[in-house]
C-alpha cells in the first residue's frame, strides 16, 4: 500500500463539515473486454467506503461496479470542528483496502 489512493479534502462551513474525496481505483465491472486479447477483464471494484469522524462512522457506503472509475464522493456532517480527525477507509472485492486519516482544516 505504498501508493496513496485516497485524496480527501475536508473543511468546515458554518455548522457543517464538508468532505470531498477522490479515490484512485479501476472500478472494473467484469463486463469489459480487453480489446487485444478479447478476454474479459475481471471485476475489480470497491465494495465498502466508510467515513469516520473522531472514530464514529458518519457514512457507510456500499458500492457496486456501476460507480465510475476513480470514484468521487462528497458528504456533509454536523458537529465537527477544525482539528478533528476524519478517517476514510475502502475495501474492494479482491480484498484490497486502504485508509487515510486527515485533520479538518
Amino acid at each position: 500500500m505504498a501508493v496513496n489512493t485516497i485524496r480527501p479534502r475536508v473543511w468546515v462551513d458554518g455548522d457543517l463539515a464538508i468532505l470531498k474525496m477522490l479515490i484512485t481505483h479501476p472500478m472494473e465491472t467484469g463486463r469489459r473486454k480487453n480489446k487485444k486479447t478479447g478476454k474479459k477483464i475481471p471485476a475489480h471494484y470497491i465494495q465498502s467506503l466508510i467515513v469516520e469522524h473522531n472514530d464514529k462512522v458518519v457514512l457507510d457506503g456500499m458500492l457496486g461496479p456501476a460507480v465510475s472509475k476513480n470514484p468521487f464522493m462528497q458528504c456533509k456532517f454536523k458537529g465537527a470542528k477544525a482539528g478533528d480527525k476524519v478517517t476514510i477507509k475502502w475495501a474492494d472485492n479482491k480484498g484490497e483496502s486502504d485508509s487515510k486519516e486527515v485533520k479538518i482544516s
Binding site: K33, Q47, G64, F77, G79, K89
Partner: protein, 154 residues
C-alpha cells in the same frame, strides 16, 4: 541518561511501527456483509427489496436529484441527492436501464446531512432513481438522464 531514554523511546516506537505494519498486512474486514443479491438484481424492484427489505416506494417531492439532463459520457455522470425528509438513515442511487440497477447505497448517521454526491456509470438513456429511507419508510424520486455514449460498453 539522555541517550538511554532516547534508545528506549525509539525502541517502543519501533515496536508500535511493527504492530501497525502487521495491521496493514492482514486483510482489513471493514465492511459489513456486502448486499450481493441487491447489487446483482436485474430490476429496481428486486434491488430495493434485497437491499432495504421492501419495494414499496412512495414518490416524494422532498428528494432532489441533481444530474445532467444529457450526459455526453455515460461512464462518468455526476449524481447528487439531497433530501428534506427527517431522520434519513440511507440514500441509494439506482439506474433503471443498467443491467444491474443498484449503483451504490449510503448509510447515514444521525449527524450526517441527507446529502450525497458521487459519480456513476449509465449504460444508456435511463431514469435515475434515488431511494431515501426515512423513519423506516422508503421514499423515491427520479430523473431522466440522456446518454450519448454508454458507460458499460465493451
Amino acid at each position: 541518561m539522555k541517550r538511554r531514554t532516547l534508545l528506549k523511546s525509539s525502541l517502543t516506537a519501533g515496536v508500535a511501527g511493527i504492530a501497525a505494519g502487521a495491521g496493514l498486512l492482514t486483510p482489513q474486514v471493514v465492511m459489513a456483509a456486502w448486499p450481493k443479491s441487491a447489487f446483482k438484481s436485474k430490476t429496481i424492484d428486486n434491488a430495493v427489496k434485497n437491499l432495504l427489505g421492501s419495494s414499496g416506494l412512495a414518490t416524494s417531492g422532498d428528494i432532489t436529484i441533481k444530474a445532467p439532463p444529457i450526459a455526453e459520457n455515460g461512464a462518468v455522470v455526476n449524481i447528487a441527492v439531497t433530501s428534506k425528509l427527517k431522520n434519513v438513515s440511507s440514500i441509494s442511487i439506482l439506474v433503471e436501464k443498467n443491467a444491474q440497477p443498484l449503483t451504490s447505497s449510503f448509510n447515514l448517521s444521525s449527524v450526517t446531512e441527507p446529502f450525497v454526491k458521487t459519480r456513476v456509470k449509465i449504460a444508456k438513456t435511463s431514469r435515475v432513481l434515488a431511494v431515501v429511507k426515512s423513519g423506516g419508510k422508503l421514499y423515491s424520486a427520479s430523473r431522466e438522464v440522456k446518454v450519448t455514449i454508454g458507460g458499460c460498453g465493451g
